[in-house]
Symmetry: C2
Subunit: 94 residues, 2 copies
């Protein structure tokens, strides 16, 4: 394996980890319906940004950007939706 | 503004949104110490992936990758730390 291969590998592993990280969060939230500690603003900005990245990837014809951000969106969007559905209506949605 | 400028703008706005999204989460968690809905696995994978991206950015001499991922890490790492510190010790750390 050359240095360039190793560097690329670090990039791929990092990408898989940051994208896949949203899977345990989505599964946990789905299983527990506990959204009290989750930030609505975080998931709002994050999902809008992810839609932006998918748009950017489409306009630049970048399949990796489109694919990785679509997978992220697939797990991060339901979390946003569940925050709206299950949050305590007596506390501010932040 | 050319089409290329507009496309770049979409990329920058998306990047700022996904990176900045961790700020309200970190502030909320710091203010409330409420980590019950947060996934430890998510923040573990996410922070490891972010360290990986910083490493990749360094090895490829990419300042944007290093800068944006360092800002993300600055807010996502304290969340991981607060999950360990404040989680309910009677439930599994997932």
């Amino acid at each position: 394996m050359t240095d360039a291969d190793l560097i690329s590998m670090i990039g791929y592993v990092s990408g898989v980890m940051t994208v896949a990280s949203f899977i345990p969060q989505a599964l946990k939230t789905y299983a527990t319906k506990d959204v009290s500690g989750l930030s609505f603003l975080m998931y709002s900005f994050f999902n809008l940004g992810t839609i932006g990245w998918i748009t950017y990837g489409y306009l630049r014809a970048s399949y990796p950007l489109m694919i990785f951000n679509s997978i992220t969106f697939l797990f991060a969007f339901p979390v946003w939706f569940m925050i709206i559905k299950y949050h305590n209506k007596e506390t501010p949605l932040l």
